[in-house]
Symmetry: C2
Subunit: 344 residues, 2 copies
């Protein structure tokens, strides 16, 4: 039933050989104008679509940009604001190009054989999301780098390696958030961080300590908590934080999902955001403005980070990049109603 038009059909209608059809359509070798016109007319009449795989094969290209997304058995990773926004940004830019977006799901416990994606010509370039400080991540990236394969890492910075990266000003954003709380008169500020496997977690932690110290406040070891950027980890930490609430003024959470987990967990234990404690989230995800009270948060331009990553990969493939890319986009504080505490 499948009646796709083949090169041989064009050759037959034009009355030439298949090789001639190829030469005309790939624009190689000397061809008489008359022959060329016959082939082009036949191709048009039959609505012949040159086989892009064959073309890519001839060029050694797939026409695809791979996007690596970490994949965990029970987590709907693409349903998180963080990944979906970056992916939307990548898709927006690739949609304007001739490249297609190939999603590659990477389970954390599987070998990160990104080079094979190039070797098997599945992709021409690669955007890596969710990369960590782990040895296995670094080795995989070093391998790509040594082979001079085009790739860029989003939202993760490796200080000791010259990888191309698109990141955001997480130190500055976190410093701003904590200073904002201090300026509101809060001095007893807890911090709920994500995993230290990410450079942005370490940057937030450094900024938290620095902002407190700048204000003459000594960071308290037992006011620092670590979740895994999920809402459930926020709910879990709420139980640990609850006994401290009478002393605490405010909590700075390293993303909105954990902040909302804290809101919900503490609410169940009788403590209300904006009344018993102030709360700042991070990312400024769409939920931040939907919860009650709306959540003050640090806006990270995730969509733009994805868009720029795609732009830079396209430039690499066009050989327009000569120096290491290390872009860090600015972040901004979005003030909402969650940063109050009733004075008792």
């Amino acid at each position: 039933m499948n009646t796709l038009v083949k090169r041989s059909d064009v050759a037959k209608l034009a009355g030439v050989s298949e090789a001639t059809v190829s030469r005309v359509l790939n624009n190689v070798g000397p061809i008489r104008e008359e022959t060329k016109n016959k082939v082009l007319q036949a191709a048009k009449a039959l609505n012949y679509q040159p086989n892009s795989i064959a073309q890519c094969f001839a060029r050694g290209k797939s026409g695809n940009i791979g996007v690596i997304v970490p994949s965990f058995p029970k987590v709907h990773m693409l349903s998180t604001y963080y990944f979906s926004e970056i992916l939307s940004g990548i898709g927006r830019r690739l949609g304007e190009s001739n490249y297609s977006l190939l999603l590659v799901f990477q389970p954390p416990d599987q070998p990160k054989n990104y080079v094979q994606l190039f070797q098997s010509q599945k992709i021409d370039g690669c955007i890596i999301l969710g990369a960590k400080n782990h040895e296995s991540d670094k080795e995989a990236l070093i391998h790509l780098h040594h082979l001079d394969l085009p790739f860029i890492v989003v939202n993760q910075t490796y200080l000791d390696y010259p990888f191309h990266t698109i990141d955001a000003e997480h130190y500055e954003g976190s410093y701003k958030a904590v200073s904002y709380l201090i300026n509101k008169g809060f001095r007893n500020i807890a911090f709920v961080n994500g995993s230290n496997d990410f450079s942005n977690s370490s940057e937030r932690f450094a900024a938290y300590k620095d902002a407190l110290k700048k204000a003459g406040i000594e960071p308290m070891e037992n006011w620092i908590f670590q979740g895994n950027y999920s809402r459930s980890s926020g709910i879990k930490i709420a139980k640990e934080i609850a006994p401290l609430i009478p002393q605490l003024d405010a909590i700075f959470a390293a993303n909105d999902r954990m902040a909302i987990g804290l809101m919900q967990g503490l609410s169940e234990l009788g403590y209300k955001v904006g009344k018993d404690f102030a709360l700042i989230g991070y990312d400024d995800s769409d939920i931040a403005s939907m919860v009650n009270p709306p959540l003050t948060s640090v806006k990270v331009p995730l969509f733009d980070m994805g868009k720029i990553a795609a732009e830079k990969i396209i430039q690499m493939l066009n050989h327009e990049i000569t120096e290491q890319i290390h872009i860090r986009l600015p972040v901004t504080l979005k003030e909402r109603a969650s940063c109050c505490k009733q004075i008792t």
Copy 2:
């Protein structure tokens, strides 16, 4: 710098021709055991990865499943719960297979040339999201169908065409939602639907009317509103609904995003969910449990719909499907605190 191993390198090390390497690795033609071992050992020593494009080209396959996602200039489509969940489900199943996921962004005003994706061998099969009742959508699908190309439509049913579809029981879900409100004693129930371009919108509308009629309530023309499934359309409709609130008991919204827009818009006008009116959403997105009061909603198994769509496409490509697929998954009502109204 790019030191990818080529077929010629394997041939050289094994001391055979490139054609022999191909025959061994593709397992075609008669080959002496000794030659075969030499080639395999050389391939192993060099860590040679057979070129998957070349393999696919030989087989006429790309190894990719295309997923069509509608793309609008200002909307981050993948960041909506609806699309990201379906995509997560598709990704989960494809991640367990040898197929890769090729994302195809389809602007609504551009020709829907899905056949070309097959002709140019970008994809072997296709999952279509966001398809409408429009002529241009139907024509594109009829074209695929006539060419016997493997595709499946998610969450859209065409009664007059024998397309493979994965859908959900939207009539039953909506009937359940409206009946639930009636059983709570509410009789004055408004309905905020999405676009009638989608079969699920029409199903919800039919169920809304039927459930009311079953209870002896005549549907009121001016209590039926139409948004576009976005939060901003909910906020906009809030202004139209506000003057009716004193008479209205409850609102049934065709998705959670519009329901949350209604909550926010009506809250700004002084009307509170769970106090001045009851509210039911649809989809049971992650936000439903995060808003205050938490939103009663109809849970649609979007992740599973994506997973099954991928499963069925793989079966089609394995020639394991002989009959039309028309699966409709059940939906369930998730009761939360938004379905109260204070009796005054």
